[in-house]
Amino acid sequence: MAGLEAHLRARRADGHKLLLPYLTAGYPVGEWPRLIEGFALAGADGMEIGLPFSDPVMDGPTIQEASTLALEAGANPQALLDEVAKMEAGIPLVAMTYYNICFRMGHERFASALVQAGVSGCILPDLPLEELGPWAEAADAAGIETVLLAAPTAPDERLVRIAERARGFIYGVGLVGITGERDELAASAVEMARRLKEITDKPVIIGVGVSTPEQAAEVCQVADGVVVGSAIVRRLLETGSVDAAITFVGELRAALDGC
């Protein structure tokens, strides 16, 4: 398969808006691996696979709860990646976790664990540009594309540096805050997309606070695509089954195709 960035660029060139749903690996216990193929079939262009961490400071109550439930059921990063390795998604997978999970395993070992699992990208939301060095070196060497977050609080010159160092895509944070559903799309989401599109031709994907098909379509007026997390995980928490979440991903796809 082509790399993450190459794949997303190709889809974009076909006139697609990019959809990257998020799942918390390990939840719902036993059933979660089915989400991987399910999301792909429902029209995802890639997906974020969250490896649960005990202290997720960028996450709101919904994703925290799924992480806690997964950890209470005994989830550990290596075992979760072993499960991921068994799935055939046919689209790029992006691991999302906090830096200590990677640091504890060791940069090289973590990068090669991702490669073994068939994962092509990685997001570490508490590892900003200034601390990126040792991980980025290991990731680059292993061919893992390190996606960087860009936040509305960054001045323009910082966005430029982030865009230059980002691999795979640039994850524009849609609002000043943590993950979680919002009733309306924040004005900052479109603004973030606009600022990033002005300075880069790498795929610009907006996440955090994108909660509905309408909001996804709205932000994709400017952005190349969206990450949707809490709205999916809430459906998993409410129903305890993967079906409602997969159906919802289909609705997101339809909304993006209509715009």
């Binding site: 005990s54 997720p56 400071v57 960028m58 200590n100 999970i101 640091f103 504890r104 609080t153 943590i178």
Partner: protein, 412 residues
Amino acid sequence: MAIAEARDPSGQPTRRVAVMGEPDATGRFGRFGGRFVPETLVPACAELEAAFRQAWSDDAFRSEYRELLTGYAGRPSALTECHNLSQQLGLRLLLKREDLNHTGSHKINNVLGQTLLARRMGKTRIVAETGAGQHGVASATAAAYFGLECVVYMGEVDVTRQALNVYRMRLLGAEVRPALSGSRTLKDAVNEAMRDWVATVANTHYCLGSVMGPHPYPWMVREFHRVIGDEARDQCRALLGGDPDVVVACVGGGSNAIGIFSGFADTSAELVGVEPAGGAAVGKGIPGVVHGSLSYLMQDEYGQVLEAQSVSAGLDYPGIGPEHAHLADIGRARYEAVTDREVLDAFELLARTEGIIPALEPAHGLAWIVRAREELAGRTVLLNLSGRGDKDVAQVQAIQDGDPEALKTVSF
């Protein structure tokens, strides 16, 4: 900055190193520290660093800060010689009385500095985490004084065991929000405060309560507590004609300890930090990253942070400030751990012998002194009495009465 003797694990001096200075440009003390925060907060940390650097070299800021410490917080705090207990233990015990500060602990030193800085940066709101409630009370106090809005996050377990402090914070006009995730103690309160700050960074300052977190906090908070060590050093020289042999402090994140250590790092005094056995980051920890910095951390083989377990809400923390990790690494300070049982005994001991009811946190320091009294025989030992015990009286009473809920917070 001070020059200290580094020592190998057998205690032999190896080389002289600069300590207690500024961390390097990445916020590191040796290999520890850094700034591991969500991208949203990077500009705020940089702004805070610049603002602190500028304020700390501004005489007007310094003198306003000093006036608050004397006129409002009641500094300098006394140095008390414990005649009764010294005789009983066979050593010479001195207490640096941070318990006598306004609000009852050392925490006010840091909070007054940070709120002055917050005002200077044009912030109208502060958020804080608290364990024992002492930092929360100090934050609520300073917010009332400066007319800032104040929200304090406190683990749900601690809301129960430190009920008196919860009421004090509310009385002072702060909003106390229980942290309901994870172990529902200090670690989770820090998570919630950081999440709040991620969302409110435009008008809010995060008033972090210890020498932990992302750069510049470990450095800035140490500078705001340096006054403890500076005073104690002068007071010891006046009383003893020299320095104490050993300086002891309890360590949660490590702010009261670094404050008193900073006055003695370049002397021959031994520096000893005392952690709870159930939260011994140096003893049981391995390097890891949580809450913005790289330091020793209690964690499992996969990097999940473990829950600390201690009778003292203020020390119930699985990490330790990065500068302490560095001082441990180079052998300039050593870190010991005591059990809850030893702490409760020390709590009573100080009350009975000296008429001073200590907070459970500094009772850890005394517990180690009691245990190590043979090693310490005949020596002069300075203990940082970081806070007073009023907040703990109800909890200790419930433990002594055998209340099952209270006993859950103790490991014997």
